[in-house]
Symmetry: C2
């Protein structure tokens, strides 16, 4: 990537963990899939009004779509754009699935103590003084839901290769948080949880 010179901040997200980052209006956020096939659950709040957040259910309405394309806005629960997807080297993500959570592993897999994106995101946001309840639905970068003509779907391995990324431009001052999805007992992350990397870049 020819974007090294503009980097303001780099944040590594270890496997099974989440991290938050401030991105100011006009700056860009790069979410990098370091080793490939790793989903990143993403939430994003307006720093001026933490009651406003990126809202996948409102995005589906405002975009008239369940796919994300370069140029698309990430709309909030107040139907305003908070970020814009300016670059995407993968082209397949999800924004109709929940974050994995305690109940997912308990109910569906009988596991009481599995790490999960919901709790990772809450923990990452606490460091920025944001305590949402409930947590907004996430955008699941690199997640590969394959929908058939009936509306049923299966989750396949992500299409992302090592170093693939998406780049977002902040349209307001925001806090974003991303969790390296902890799902290691289904194809979501290719059965192997790996790190993600965040980069904050100067505006163009």
């Amino acid at each position: 990537m020819a974007i090294g010179a503009e980097i303001i901040e780099t944040v590594w997200i270890p496997p099974y963990e989440g991290r938050g980052v401030k991105v100011s209006k006009g700056q860009r956020l790069c979410i990098i899939d370091v080793e490939g096939k790793q989903v990143g659950d993403f939430v994003c709040f307006n720093r001026e009004n933490p009651g406003e957040h990126v809202s996948p259910v409102h995005m589906r309405s405002s975009l008239s779509s369940i796919r994300l394309k370069e140029g698309d806005f990430l709309y909030s629960n107040l139907r305003r754009p908070l970020m814009r997807l300016v670059k995407d080297t993968v082209g397949k993500h999800d924004f109709f699935f929940p974050a994995c959570d305690y109940y997912r592993y308990k109910v569906d897999f009988g596991r009481e103590d599995h790490p999960n994106c919901h709790d990772n995101l809450e923990k990452a946001l606490r460091e920025f003084g944001i305590k949402p309840r409930p947590l907004p639905d996430p955008i699941n970068w690199f997640m590969n839901n394959v929908l058939d003509e009936n509306g049923d779907y299966v989750i396949e391995e992500p299409l992302s290769k090592p170093g693939d990324y998406v780049m977002l431009e902040a349209l307001e001052d925001v806090v974003a948080a991303v969790s390296a999805c902890s799902q290691d007992i289904a194809p979501v992350n290719g059965y192997r949880v790996t790190p993600l990397k965040l980069q904050v870049l100067e505006g163009r």
Copy 2:
């Protein structure tokens, strides 16, 4: 319908309004589209624990689908089934779209004072002592999103004819609320807002 003898309660929902109703475990709730082509935005809470509610984002995960079929469970944010869809005379509904709200009419149509499902549902729930913030995503009964192979969609008129209905069985003691969707400046309700009717029926 040959279900008249079993009716415990009937609730009419006038156009542009919402109403709530208690349904106890084992009882059934019928949501009837009286004149046809009228969407009903629906939310449902566990009476024993109002922090638990029917959650479309978790339903998509647990059902592996964005269509609803007879026999499907309506899952909660705790990934437990709160109701079951036992009968459906239409077969086309939506559970990935938000309730229409103040911001929808303001931002997308320049209308400051239009009735909306979000506020109608909040008002209907207040009478049962339920004050959710934010309101859960709704199931939009009879709403007809037509998705293409790319994941883009258009909203067409509902397929429901006068008297069509869905029937739900309560798996816990719940409060459900339904709003006759106020959208009259797009095809959502066939450009005409009409009443809905709720019936609570004895268990079989």
